[in-house]
Symmetry: C2
Subunit: 327 residues, 2 copies
Amino acid sequence: MTRRGEFELIADVFGPLADDPSALNLGDDGAIVPTREGMDLVVTTDAMVEGRHFATDFPPDLLAQKLLRSNSSDLAAMGADPSAYTLTVALPTPLPEDWIEEFAKGLGRDQARYGLTLIGGDTVAATGDHDKWFSVTMFGHVKTGAALRRNGARAGDIVYVSGTIGDAMIGFEIGQGQHSALQPESSKFLKNRLYLTSPRVKLGQALHGLATAVIDVSDGLVADLSHICSQSGVGAEVSAARVPLSGPGGEAIGLDPTIADRRLVWGEDYELIFCTDPSAGEEIDWLTKRLGTGATAIGTITETPGVRVLDPSGETISFKSAGFEHF
Amino acid sequence: MTRRGEFELIADVFGPLADDPSALNLGDDGAIVPTREGMDLVVTTDAMVEGRHFATDFPPDLLAQKLLRSNSSDLAAMGADPSAYTLTVALPTPLPEDWIEEFAKGLGRDQARYGLTLIGGDTVAATGDHDKWFSVTMFGHVKTGAALRRNGARAGDIVYVSGTIGDAMIGFEIGQGQHSALQPESSKFLKNRLYLTSPRVKLGQALHGLATAVIDVSDGLVADLSHICSQSGVGAEVSAARVPLSGPGGEAIGLDPTIADRRLVWGEDYELIFCTDPSAGEEIDWLTKRLGTGATAIGTITETPGVRVLDPSGETISFKSAGFEHF
């Protein structure tokens, strides 16, 4: 059996993911980004490094989907509609062929699901023995001037979070051998929430004109809310008990109460934190029910800077770290 | 002395490179890409990995400039005008502060020179002990539908290359301790050509309507010309002796004749290879003189596929490798 050349492998595997690979895409030095009249073009970029952002045994198809979804989640936080992306991959030599094919399958699956197309990229050899890293740059569209921002929160605004917080962390810890007393179906649910999240794209788009500040929860609820506060020049007070939980997440906390606080600083939930004027409460309830994302009021924006998380007795909880640190 | 926090360092150092960091740029989940009416938006992405694309002692400011220039060169090959970029950096911990500051200085220098602005990015920790890597995604504009392509070369077209070929390779080899008999000023010139090249942005833009296919020389003249040939469904015949040389490059070949062929498969010249109808000869001469880039006819496009490089006696030269291999 002849081993396929490495250039050919890359072209064979990633070429079909581009709408027009022979035309103006992977074959050229650059790619044309689709623009739309009356729309701003938003770009986001997110890198994942083996051993740092994902474990070596992370299923490659799900990793590809997670990479696209974490970028889609950033676009969601800007209120933009994802449409195209470029991909830079660093892979070890010899190329892990099966791994790459699985990875490409995952890309294809989410391209179909989210209406995305691959428009260009670059491949390099990783220097380490088994390091892989990926960088996706994703493009989305939003009505001109309507991009959601982090910097508009005002004292008195209500702080909401969509969905539930903590499942990805518990799923990760299950992979580390913890929480073995959980029901098998709960365990499976939580592991899947580490692998695959649902970027809140439709919610982001629906928040135009309603939210004063938006961010997605990738580095941890406390860290991400701090970004809103520092960009807006305000602070926030959050009630820990109000931060929403999934059913299986609740089961896990019943078995290990330390989860309750830890989940606030872990991240990878890919939910949206958003702030609104208190008068918007009914509209937010109606909207997030209709979209099926849910949204829970977890606190308020304050003039005092910093994020304070209160326990049920009103005491401030102190965290060792506010969230995932890039360094 | 208090060590600055690592988040703060990144914000302090890279923030001033963005036109509007507090507004809609580095502070948000994504960035707004400037679009222009009547123009296509072109994107290119290029990654550089320590130990693979640059040595550990590569001066950080020049590395930053090289990264911007290699991307500008890709845009030049599409006939586009560079305008903005996003930057992903992976750095070891603890952060090499002085190194990063020098790197940012280089970015600033080329931003001013090429009219670029930083619009977003991501920073991650590298997993290795001393691995650094960088990925730049750069945006440029070209009149709608006018982007230069690789796929239009036709049998009978003349193959041109701008500037001179081989200086970067010789500069690299000087760094490895070779070519010590060169005049000091020649040696310095060649090393500088490894560090800093001049992306042929104005030439690319001037080739609209003239060139049938264009590519930049990043992986080696033979490999890059092969890309044009395979995308266009043609071949090419090149005369090795016609491939242009700089003065110091000629001096080096006088001392080490093996350079003459090796330079055709080394790369990092960041010149443009372009094909035109033979009738365009005078216009190309006039144009490239006016722009100061020069352009030399090195061969012709053939119906027979593949790239053949002929020595002065008309024999085909065989190369161990066609150029820099990504894997």
